[in-house]
C-alpha cells in the first residue's frame, strides 16, 4: 500500500516539477527588465521558483517527519477504483460518442453492474437523464453539448 509519507513525497515532487516547468517555460519570454518594464516571463518565473522551493521544503518535511500509515485502506481503494474507472470510461466515451450517448451507457452500466438494478429501472433512469439534459441545455438555455456520430445520424 502507498503510505501517507510516500504520497506526500510524490505530490511534492509533482508540484516541484510543475514549478520547475513553469519557471523554465517563463525564461523563453525573458525574465529581466526591458525598456517597457518587466518582461512577460518575469512574474511566472518567480512564481515557478516559489512553488519549486516550497515544494522541496514540503518534500524534506515529509522525508523527516512523514507518517507511514497507509493513505488508503485496501477496501477503500477498491471502492474508489469502482467509482473512478467508470468515470474515466465516461470521459473517453463522451469524447468519442458525445455526452448524451456516453451518459446513457455510463448510467446504464453503473446501475446494472454496481447498483444491481433491474433492466426496467436502469433504462428509465439512464434514458431520462440525457433526455432531461437535452431539454434543459439545448432547448431551454440553447447551450449545445458535445455530440457524436449518433446524433449526426438522426439529424440533431
Amino acid at each position: 500500500m502507498i503510505s501517507r509519507k510516500a504520497a506526500e513525497i510524490g505530490l511534492a515532487s509533482v508540484t516541484a516539477l510543475f514549478g520547475a516547468v513553469i519557471a523554465y517555460g517563463a525564461t523563453e519570454f525573458g525574465v529581466g527588465w526591458a525598456p517597457s518594464g518587466p518582461e512577460p516571463g518575469t512574474f511566472p518565473f518567480y512564481i515557478g521558483l516559489i512553488v519549486l522551493v516550497a515544494s522541496l521544503a514540503n518534500m524534506v518535511a515529509a522525508l523527516v517527519a512523514g507518517d507511514g500509515t497507509p493513505l488508503l485502506e485496501r477496501s477503500h481503494l477498491k471502492d474508489v477504483a469502482r467509482f473512478v474507472v467508470p468515470m474515466i470510461g465516461f470521459v473517453i466515451l463522451a469524447l468519442l460518442l458525445g455526452i448524451y450517448v456516453a451518459t446513457f451507457v455510463y448510467l446504464l452500466g453503473t446501475m446494472r453492474v454496481q447498483g444491481r438494478y433491474g433492466w426496467g429501472r436502469s433504462i428509465a433512469v439512464s434514458l431520462g437523464l440525457p433526455l432531461g439534459l437535452y431539454a434543459l441545455m439545448e432547448k431551454a438555455f440553447q447551450v449545445p453539448l458535445l455530440k457524436g456520430p449518433l446524433e449526426a445520424l438522426i439529424g440533431l
Partner: protein, 500 residues
C-alpha cells in the same frame, strides 16, 4: 445616509417579479447542491455560471448569490441530519448539530442552525451596507502599488490565518498564479507557457478547475469515506421552530461574537470554513454552556453557523469594493463579473450603482426568504439523500462534466476537469488548501498587472511598495500576517488549533 438612499434604490431594483423568482430558483438549487455530496457552493456556482453569460448582470448575480445562500443552508442540513457536512464550512456544525438531532431534537437543531445562519447573514449584509461607501471612497485613492499590496494582503492572510500548513498554502497559491499565467499575457499580448499545445492557447478556465477540484475531487473523497446515510427523520414541526426562536435571545453573546468573527474572516479572506472553526473554538472556550459542547449544545450549533453565514455574506464586500474575493465561491462570482463585462473594484459603485445596490438589497431579501424556504423544504431535500449512491453518484459526475463542457465548448476541458479531480482529491487527502488556488487563479492576472505597472512606475525599484503611508501600511500588515503563525507559536506556545 448616502448608503441608505442607495440601499432603497437597490430595493427598487431587486424587488421585481423576475428577480424574486430567480431568488427562489437560486435558493432551491443552492439547497440542492448543498445537500448533494460532491456538489458544494463553489462548484454549484461554477456549473450555473455558463448559463448566465447571456443574462442581464443584475439578474445573473442575484441568481448566483441566492444559490450561494441556499448552498450554505443545505450544507448545514446534512451536517445535522446525517453527520455528513455538505460543505467544508459546515464541518463544525456536525460537532453539536448531529448529537442534538440524535436526541430526537432534529427540528430544534435545524432551527437553531437556520435562524443563527440567518442572523449571521443579516449582520454580514448590514456590515456591507455600512462599510461599502467607506471602503469604496478609500479604494478610489488606490493606484497600482496599493492594488498589489491589497492582493498581497489577501494571500498573506490565507497563509497566516487559513489554518492549513503554511508551505502547502504557498504551493497552492503559487499553482493558482501559474495556471492563471497560461495563455495570453494581458500586458504584452504575447502567448505564454503554452508549451506548443494548441489546447492551452486560450488559457485554462478557472471554472473548469473549480468543477474538477471541488466537484470530482469531493466525489472521490465521498466514495472513499463510504457514504453511510444513517439519517434522522426530518419532520419540521412549526411549534418547535417557534419555541427555538424564543430561545435564541438567550444565546446573544455567542451570536454576536460569532457574527463578528465571521465578518472579520469574510472581509480578510480567511473564508467561511476558517470562520466557522474559529468561532466554534472560541465558543467552546468562552460560552456559558461550554460543558455541554460536543454533546448537542445549541451554542455549539449557533457559533459555527452564525460565523459561516456572516463570513459568506461579508466576503461580498471586498469582492465588490476591491475586486478581492473573500472565499472560493466569491472568487468564482468575481470571475463571473469579469465575464459579464463588469469591472470589479471601486469604480463599480460609480459605474453600476444599480448592480451593486441591487445585489446588496437582494442579500437582505434572499437570506430572509432562504430561512423560510429551507425550513419548509428540509424534508424533501433530506429524502433526496436517500437515493442510493449508485444512481446519484454517476448522475453528479455527468452534471459536473456537462458543466465543464459548457464553460467554453472545448472537449479538452473534460480532461482538465478529470485531471483536477484527481489533484483535488490528493490535495484534500494531504491537507493542501484548495480555496487559495482558486483565488490566485481568478485574480492572478490582475495581481500580476498591478505588480508590473507598479514596477514600471518606479522603473524597477521594489521600494515603490513602501513609497507612501497607505501602501506601506498595507504591505506591513501583509508581512505581519505572513509571519503570524510563527509569532502566534512564540506568544501562545505549542501548535494549538481551533478545531477539536
Amino acid at each position: 445616509m448616502d448608503n441608505l438612499a442607495s440601499l432603497f434604490h437597490g430595493f427598487s431594483v431587486a424587488l421585481s417579479f423576475h428577480h424574486i423568482f430567480l431568488m427562489l430558483v437560486g435558493i432551491l438549487l443552492g439547497i440542492l447542491v448543498g445537500v448533494l455530496p460532491g456538489l458544494g457552493a463553489p462548484n454549484g456556482v461554477s456549473l450555473l455560471l455558463p448559463l448566465t453569460f447571456t443574462m442581464d448582470p443584475v439578474a445573473a448575480i442575484i441568481l448566483l448569490t441566492s444559490m450561494y445562500w441556499g448552498a450554505l443552508f443545505g450544507g448545514s442540513t446534512t451536517s445535522i441530519l446525517f453527520n455528513i457536512p455538505g460543505e467544508p464550512s459546515s464541518v463544525a456544525t456536525t460537532f453539536d448539530g448531529y448529537p442534538l438531532a440524535q436526541k430526537g431534537k432534529a427540528t430544534e437543531a435545524l432551527s437553531y442552525a437556520f435562524l443563527s445562519a440567518g442572523f449571521g447573514a443579516l449582520v454580514g449584509v448590514i456590515v456591507i451596507t455600512l462599510l461599502s461607501g467607506v471602503v469604496q471612497k478609500f479604494a478610489l485613492r488606490f493606484s497600482a502599488p496599493e492594488y498589489f499590496a491589497v492582493y498581497f494582503l489577501a494571500f498573506c492572510s490565507f497563509i497566516g490565518l487559513g489554518g492549513a500548513p503554511v508551505l502547502k498554502t504557498v504551493v497552492s497559491i503559487g499553482c493558482g498564479f501559474a495556471l492563471a499565467a497560461v495563455g495570453m499575457d494581458s500586458v504584452s499580448g504575447s502567448l505564454r507557457l503554452t508549451f506548443e499545445f494548441d489546447a492551452l492557447l486560450a488559457g485554462i478556465s478557472f471554472l473548469v478547475v473549480v468543477i474538477g477540484l471541488f466537484g470530482i475531487g469531493e466525489l472521490i473523497l465521498t466514495v472513499e469515506e463510504g457514504l453511510q446515510l444513517k439519517g434522522i427523520e426530518a419532520r419540521v414541526r412549526p411549534s418547535d421552530v417557534l419555541r427555538t426562536m424564543a430561545m435564541m435571545p438567550r444565546h446573544w453573546a455567542t451570536l454576536l461574537r460569532s457574527a463578528l468573527v465571521g465578518c472579520w474572516m469574510g472581509i480578510t479572506p480567511g473564508g467561511p470554513t476558517a470562520a466557522s472553526f474559529m468561532s466554534y473554538g472560541l465558543a467552546r472556550r468562552f460560552s456559558k454552556y461550554r460543558q455541554g459542547f460536543g454533546k448537542g449544545e445549541p451554542d455549539g450549533i449557533i457559533a459555527p453557523e452564525t460565523a459561516d453565514h456572516s463570513a459568506g455574506t461579508a466576503a461580498m464586500l471586498p469582492m465588490l469594493a476591491l475586486g478581492i474575493p473573500g472565499s472560493a465561491t466569491a472568487a468564482v462570482m468575481l470571475g463571473g463579473l469579469m465575464i459579464w463585462g463588469l469591472n470589479p473594484g471601486p469604480m463599480l459603485f460609480v459605474e453600476r450603482p444599480d448592480f451593486v445596490w441591487g445585489l446588496i438589497a437582494s442579500m437582505y431579501l434572499g437570506n430572509v426568504i432562504g430561512v423560510i424556504l429551507v425550513l419548509a423544504t428540509v424534508p424533501m431535500f433530506a429524502s433526496i439523500l436517500r437515493i442510493p449512491f449508485a444512481i446519484i453518484g454517476p448522475a453528479i459526475v455527468v452534471i459536473c462534466f456537462v458543466g465543464a463542457y459548457t464553460v467554453g465548448s472545448r472537449p479538452f476541458d473534460l480532461w482538465v476537469a478529470l485531471g483536477f479531480g484527481f489533484v483535488g482529491y490528493l490535495f484534500k487527502k494531504l491537507n493542501y488548501p484548495i480555496a487559495p488556488l482558486i483565488l490566485a487563479m481568478v485574480i492572478g492576472d490582475k495581481a500580476e498587472d498591478a505588480f508590473r505597472q507598479s514596477l514600471i512606475m518606479s522603473k524597477g525599484a521594489l521600494s515603490v511598495f513602501w513609497s507612501n503611508a497607505l501602501v506601506g501600511t498595507l504591505m506591513a500588515l501583509a508581512l505581519l500576517l505572513l509571519v503570524w503563525p510563527v509569532v502566534a507559536r512564540v506568544l501562545f506556545g505549542g501548535g494549538r488549533s481551533s478545531a477539536p
